[in-house]
Symmetry: C2
């Protein structure tokens, strides 16, 4: 639904609510998707959300509820009677219930648990016991289980009988009575097989599984790599405990991409959406990195201080100071390009540890091409623009050579540091994304200055 | 499949190939997933890939073929006889065939088209005519179409008859004979409905559709938002021309995330995996941005040159030079944190245009908290570490105040610039990701210096 359309619906809903025309309000909302209804509801002030919510048909209410801001979910749950909570819970998938529980304060959680059916309560507790970020924590326990000794006809009957509450019926799992996983059949296979065939004859026994404590990021990568709609989650005894469905995998993928981007920008990742994160929390996620990076600039400061007296003692030396930001900036950008390419390549598994030598050789060639192009343009620019056009006599050929030669070395060093550090980080079990631009930049800054002042010392004899 | 496992299989395959034990080779590979077989094949030298490939059962060969490096696909296609090409094409889905065609040189494309069935040829040409990055270009034409006046029983029969070649049978599309889209039914609905019910009675008429020329990024966002397994693609007359399936949507999502990360790191995005991109191409994707950013550093250079004489004329002024990298770096990092947060928020639609004032207010508060924390730590560090510990008498209280006060203003300006620029970029139809760190950094660098030298002028009267 387009933003414009959504705005119109919100205005219309406001008008109808004003007029207390609940029938028209219901007609307006009931044709919409749950995700859009959630967007509409989230726009209303606290007091009115409850009224709007109660207008919705039960199934749509549940669909919208899952997609709402957690603040508003809490608000609604607190205002619900036990019966209302029961009704909503009946419509929710177990994994969505768990997601909501994880965001709620203890008193709301108690009410959710109290009003769940005994089986649901068991499943909820089952999922809640797995560590955050594990396969177990994102799975659902609502899947279709089949015995291997039944026929296709029986299997289809079973799906018809029990399928309505399952998160997916398109992949059915075949297990022993003790739930040891034997294989799977897809709904497609079932539909395309003869009624009399036995499940054991048509099931696929080569199953890609996740273990309950496996990292959810790996689960998602497997699903993407093998184009799976669902992935079974098993315990240490290979007993099926749940499945991860592709819609949840997509959510994890998006979150992981956001986390990687945040780490590259020196932010401690957070699960919360920006607009509902408090100012204090945002500060807490950002300030440690700013401290670290600010204090690490002590090195560059110390290097400049050390050379300062020599620099300001000559006109040529003084002229060099103006090019420090350009050299550091270009080094940072060149290194950032390499590190981000490698970090992303590692994340999507296009690049592996074994490729390190290939990568260094490639980056070396790229950096030589880049650095020479930059040095030529910079040399021309310093003499033509800085010296001739702006008439700065201090920009001599020697100064231009010093800066350009530094540029060549800085870009080469930056690219090599930028591409090796993330791979080394990964090898020692560190997160490569944390090694990205800002961290690498600090190293490159210090190295750039040392190169610069040493070249200056030999060319300009300062 | 784990990396270790894969390595063992590659070694085993090498050994068996050496021994010409093709039977064992076939046994080894045939139980694997296509994606893994592709990884194995891609590790072998050019000459051996063809031999290995011909050992595979036909369906697995096709699955693996789709996942291989495009260089190796080209190699195989060039070595294939027309019959072999036909056999592979028969097993491929149309959208995968199109993806392969897009990477191949003209002579290979001609052979693919020549060996396709007439219907396939029509579909391929249909998909190829849509612009890159459009919904039409990522769709497949192999979907299940149903008439509205048939019964569930007939529909299931039709799926059984025609479903085997369709990319998905789980969402079936109901159209008029002229293909005008009327609605859809899921396989779940079909299985849970009575055999005698009519499709028109059970179909969902509220369909989320994409138009052929819609941006593929938007298509993927819709699928993720509404948890869809497939999305129908219609032309201007609302006639169904194809569908996008969730596995392809996931690939697009990954590519788009990579593109955004590349743009944030000042790289022109490319579709090709890093390792198969030539050095020259990598250079071409990186150098324009490095030129742009290097030349834009002319501003910072000019500002320093302008103030230089005043700076070096006093001891306090000279002392200030050493803190330029720290101030610029901290400004860049602080601004980068904000810009990246906003850019990612816009990309996943957590943040909308209308939120701009809320965001600026929030960032203002965060920046005040951050800047004051940083200034306090910096002030203490300059006096305790630089002055006392390192015994640098030039770091006076006035110098420390100048630097700390600049830090406060720089961080506030950086965060406000960092959060507004991406939103403004989006408003004027620019890509927000391009506005990220490096570009914003250039602005922040120049502003930082101006603030620094002006504060220095009034506090230290230089």
């Amino acid at each position: 639904m387009e933003l414009e359309e959504l705005k119109e619906i919100i205005e219309e809903a406001e008008r109808l609510l004003e007029e207390k025309n609940f029938y028209a309000l219901k007609l307006l909302l009931q044709e919409m998707e749950g995700a859009d209804v959630a967007l509409v509801l989230d726009e209303f002030p606290d007091k009115k959300i409850g009224i709007l919510f109660r207008v919705l048909p039960k199934d749509l209410a549940a669909e919208a509820f899952v997609e709402m801001d957690s603040d508003n979910q809490e608000l609604l749950l607190s205002s619900f009677t036990d019966t209302e909570i029961k009704e909503i819970l009946d419509e929710l998938y177990i994994d969505d219930t768990v997601d909501i529980i994880e965001e709620m304060p203890a008193n709301v959680v108690r009410r959710i648990i109290k009003n769940s059916s005994p089986e649901a309560r068991k499943s909820i507790n089952e999922i809640l016991k797995y560590p955050v970020d594990s396969a177990g924590s994102i799975m659902t326990t609502e899947y279709v289980r089949l015995d291997e000794d039944i026929t296709v006809e029986d299997a289809l009957k079973r799906i018809r009988r029990t399928g309505v509450d399952k998160e997916t019926i398109y992949t059915c799992y075949v297990t022993k009575p003790n739930r040891t996983l034997l294989g799977y059949v897809t709904a497609k296979t079932l539909l395309l097989s003869d009624d009399e065939q036995f499940i054991s004859d048509i099931m696929e026994t080569n199953v890609i599984v996740a273990h309950t404590d496996e990292d959810k990021e790996d689960v998602v990568k497997e699903m993407s790599k093998y184009d799976l709609l669902a992935l079974p989650v098993v315990d240490k005894e290979n007993r099926l405990v749940g499945i991860v469905t592709v819609d949840d995998a997509i959510d994890v993928m998006e979150d992981e991409a956001t986390e990687d981007v945040e780490k590259m920008a020196a932010i401690t990742p957070s699960d919360k959406p920006y607009l509902s994160t408090s100012v204090f929390e945002i500060w807490k996620n950002r300030i440690p990195w700013l401290f670290l990076l600010m204090l690490s600039a002590t090195f560059t400061g110390a290097i400049i201080t050390y050379f300062e007296d020599k620099l300001v003692a000559s006109i040529a030396g003084t002229a060099l100071i103006a090019f420090i930001p350009m050299l550091m900036g270009t080094g940072g950008n060149a290194g950032g390009q390499s590190s981000v390419t490698i970090i992303r390549g590692l994340a999507v598994e296009e690049i592996r540890m074994g490729d390190i030598l290939k990568i260094i050789f490639k980056e070396l060639q790229v950096s030589i091409l880049c650095s020479i192009s930059l040095a030529i343009v910079n040399f021309g620019k310093m003499l033509l623009v800085d010296n001739l056009l702006f008439g700065n006599p201090n920009i001599t050929v020697s100064v231009a050579i010093t800066v350009s030669l530094t540029l060549v070395l800085v870009v080469i060093v930056a690219k090599i540091v930028g591409c090796t550090l993330p791979i080394l980080a990964k090898r020692i079990g560190f997160d490569p994304a944390v090694m990205a631009s800002p961290f690498i930049t600090t190293i490159i800054d210090a190295v750039s200055l040392l190169i610069y002042f040493n070249i200056a010392a030999s060319i300009l004899s300062i």
